[in-house]
């Protein structure tokens, strides 16, 4: 996922961040840190929610300008619920990702926000889509994003296995986020995870002191 070169270019509150999504056997885990920053040195929120539910089994995680990301997800939520009323059935994850892509691409001069859309639908099961800053749409088995993602590309490439169990996938996500938060100054706080499966959605919060430690003296 594209990363902005300097987060001080984002006006207002920015979520310099680490976000990820990973497919496992039977569902998808989407996760993020919880820090929002303003400028280069002020943490404006330690507990911001970056996992936004756009439909019953579809979540988006946001990176970039908080205002732009919240506006786009609100718009997407509205359009998606309208779409699902018209179709009289739950929307496909691809539909949600397409709506976000449309908004990001048509307004690419003005908006500075990128998204990971992940969820479960009846047609293709668990899916993950990346919608980047300029409006690119890609489907991947796992993906990471935000400023903290650069520090964990090696880890996720080495440790990801297709068809993991729920426990393995959870540990994978928690480790990845903890490693990124340990090295990136604009990511931090607690780890938010959402597990999306056919039966339902579960929100897990791992507070900072319960995160795994990696040679932290």
């Amino acid at each position: 996922m594209e990363k902005q070169h300097s987060y001080s270019q984002v006006k207002g509150v920015s979520t310099g961040t680490t976000i990820l999504a990973v497919k496992f056997n039977g569902g998808v885990i989407i996760g993020s840190d919880s820090r929002a920053s303003m400028g280069e040195s002020y943490v404006s929120s330690k507990t911001i929610n970056k996992l936004i539910q756009v439909h019953d089994r579809i979540f988006c995680c946001i990176a970039g300008s908080l205002a732009d990301a919240q506006a786009v997800t609100k718009m997407a939520k509205f359009q998606l619920s309208f779409h699902s009323i018209q179709m009289e059935s739950p929307p496909l994850v691809k539909a949600a990702a397409s709506i976000m892509r449309e908004l990001c691409y048509s307004n690419k001069e003005e908006l500075q926000a990128g998204f990971i859309t992940a969820g479960w639908d009846r047609k293709k099961g668990p899916q993950i889509y990346v919608v980047s800053l300029g409006g690119m749409l890609l489907s991947q088995p796992f993906t990471i994003g935000g400023s903290g993602s650069t520090y964990i590309y090696g880890y996720v490439d080495a440790k990801f296995k297709p068809d993991m169990s729920l426990e393995e996938a959870k540990q994978f996500s928690i480790n990845a986020l903890a490693l990124a938060m340990g090295r990136d100054n604009v990511s931090g706080g607690v780890v938010h995870l959402v597990v999306i499966t056919e039966p339902g959605v579960k929100h897990i919060v791992v507070p900072g002191d319960k995160l795994p430690k990696f040679h932290d003296e």
Binding site: S45, S65, A71, L103, S106, N107, L111
Partner: protein, 280 residues
């Protein structure tokens, strides 16, 4: 009389007209370049805290115009709805007008729908409006209120970002105030604790920030009603004028007096008849 919903139905998609217009104005040709006017800001400390039975909002009362205190008793806690109040920091005019527009729209909404507005609705309307103006409206707001779903405190930034928080301080004095809040905030405090916490937070802002000062206003919102305490604490440094500044006529001696006759020439005279007959 217009009966349709005052909140204008949003056009589909985003509307960045104002943004492009601003860019064109600022980057015009050498003669055509227009500099955006510098707005007056209220250096401010505002804070809000959620406690057991509701929300406590607090603010200082100083409005500055560069280095001069323009208003010593400025009201920064604005009425939105009977159960929702909003503290505003940033550009004085923007916070005033934004909250007034929000308040009138919500009043019309509750008359139309017969329901009291929810805090989250006020937040959504504010967010949509501020996002549309892309940060040009310099309003940093803390909204607090109690509705049928409970007590809520939200912050809305000038670019349209929002966050739901249990306590927060904003304005130029927000850093010292946040220090006090971070240290002493506990969930489910009782009223006196909450009031003293907010008051101390604003006090810290007043002491450590040049743009904040004078008195402290508090607003306590609960399910039962609103207690707007203005002022909660008066500044002990209120200046008492040492002497009268009125001068009796004759205080300044008249040295010379010259009278110049101004010659006026009558150029044109018209007479218009007026109907003044009363009804019989």
């Amino acid at each position: 009389m217009a009966l349709s919903c005052v909140l204008e139905p949003a056009l589909s998609g985003f509307n960045f007209e104002n943004s492009t217009r601003n860019i064109v104005l600022e980057n015009g040709s050498e003669e055509g370049k227009i500099k955006a006017p510098k707005p007056m800001k209220t250096g401010t400390t505002i804070a809000g805290v959620v406690y057991k039975d509701g929300v406590v909002l607090g603010a200082d009362t100083r409005a500055t115009s560069d280095e001069v205190v323009a208003d010593k008793m400025c009201a920064k806690i604005h009425y939105i709805a009977p159960n929702i109040y909003c503290c505003g920091a940033g550009t004085a005019a923007d916070t005033e007008k934004t909250t007034e527009i929000l308040s009138s729209n919500l009043t019309i909404f509750s008359m139309n729908s017969g329901r009291n507005p929810r805090v989250v609705m006020a937040v959504n309307i504010l967010q949509d409006m501020l996002f549309r103006y892309r940060g040009m409206i310099g309003a940093h707001l803390i909204l607090g209120g109690v509705d049928c779903t409970g007590s809520h405190l939200y912050t809305v930034g000038p670019y349209g970002s929002m966050d739901k928080v249990p306590y927060l301080a904003m304005g130029s004095g927000n850093l010292p105030a946040m220090g006090i809040l971070e240290d002493r905030f506990k969930a489910n405090m009782d009223l006196e604790e909450a009031k003293s916490l907010v008051s101390d937070a604003i006090h810290a802002g007043i002491m450590s920030d040049l743009g904040s000062g004078n008195n402290i206003d508090l607003c306590v919102i609960t399910k039962e009603g609103v207690d707007y305490i203005r002022p909660h604490k008066e500044s002990p440094f209120n200046y008492k004028r040492q002497a009268k500044y009125k001068y009796k006529p004759g205080t300044t001696p008249v040295l010379t007096k010259t009278v110049t006759q101004v010659e006026l020439e009558l150029l044109d005279e018209t007479v218009q008849m007026m109907e003044t007959a009363g009804s019989s």
